[in-house]
Symmetry: C2
Subunit: 214 residues, 2 copies
């Protein structure tokens, strides 16, 4: 088997630690039991080499033999095609997982990212746009609450879609955005209690702690 | 071959016409030359049946035999696996297209949607959060400008990734957000000049015009 290499930053500020998107990939790799190693690129000086792997200067990317992939959603889908611990192989099960994977990123995170950015800046000024964003997130969470109050995982079994959805909702929860959405909150607790998440989280924290100590 | 059925709203207000997300799917179906028919669900009264197909009460969804898929990204990936006009079959080419498909939705639209929503509400109040969103979009467009000034399409040939990226940038362009990004602007013009987009756009407009006349 080819060595899988996950590349992330060498260091990040305190605030995003535990939330840098390599955690989504670490989590998937742990769930699938795929061996991998982690490499680093500088956070402060992003050179042309970095941009050749990740055109927005972000992380993570994954190297799998002669294939290099950026975008955590694309990386997780790539891993899911290698492990039925992440996605079933039958066409129907597969398509259910894939639609929920996109829903996590494009229907829920699309609505939750503005919320997180407003929280991050400490901006509390009510404007018409801000009001629309709040309604947007609330509507999406209400729909997710209806879905998650009826099932343990998004599809028949835990999948890569749950990794993304739980990680997206985890960031909303960090800023107390899941108050009033008990099924969403319980889902995040259930997902993040999995040993694979616990290890992924500890590994990311240790990675950035090591940078501080260096 | 199974009949493909694309479901969209029966009617929408003037503002989103030409931009409802079924256009992304129509465009993909036209590029692939796949036969399909269009069905409608009420825009005003979204019932439990609607939510059973699309848990956020949105459109579109695609029915392909006994498989039903929501999320335009997931639908387009599904179609791309059926047509090499949308995605090459070799692993490397495939993974390049998939990463750019996610980049369109998760790196670019994630930054452009707030911009569009602010424009949509006519909100021009400068707040710290608003400033961060403007910087976020500008940074992403600068990176896309660098990418698109060097190539005709995102990967070796036109693909499903270009459908998504061009449609995302088209909405930025609608609100004059591509001023200062000539390569992005030219890319949108190039993509939307394709006969498949022209037909998809005309078909969507005709669909909603017919609802007005009914």
């Amino acid at each position: 088997m080819t060595d899988l290499i996950l590349t992330t930053f060498d260091w990040v500020p305190e605030m995003p630690r535990g939330y840098v998107r390599d955690i989504r990939v670490r989590w998937g790799l742990e769930e699938a039991g795929l061996p991998y190693r982690v490499e680093s690129v500088p956070f402060r000086n992003r050179d042309a080499g970095h941009f050749s792997y990740q055109p927005f200067g972000q992380v993570p990317w994954l190297t799998d033999g002669d294939i290099s992939i950026f975008e955590s959603g694309a990386i997780l889908l790539h891993l899911a095609e290698r492990s039925d611990a992440l996605m079933p192989v039958d066409p129907r099960g597969r398509s259910e997982v894939i639609q929920w994977l996109f829903a996590a990123l494009n229907s829920v995170e699309m609505a939750s990212l503005p919320f997180s950015l407003f929280k991050f800046t400490g901006d509390t000024i009510e404007t018409p746009g801000r009001k629309l964003f709040d309604q947007f997130l609330k509507a999406r969470l209400q729909h997710m609450e209806a879905v998650l109050s009826r099932r343990e995982w998004l599809t028949g079994a835990f999948s890569v879609a749950d990794i993304l959805m739980a990680d997206v909702l985890r960031l909303v929860d960090r800023f107390d955005g899941l108050t009033g959405f008990p099924a969403c909150h319980a889902y995040v607790a259930r997902a993040t209690a999995r040993p694979s998440f616990v290890k992924a989280y500890a590994d990311q924290m240790a990675h950035f702690d090591a940078a501080d100590a260096a």
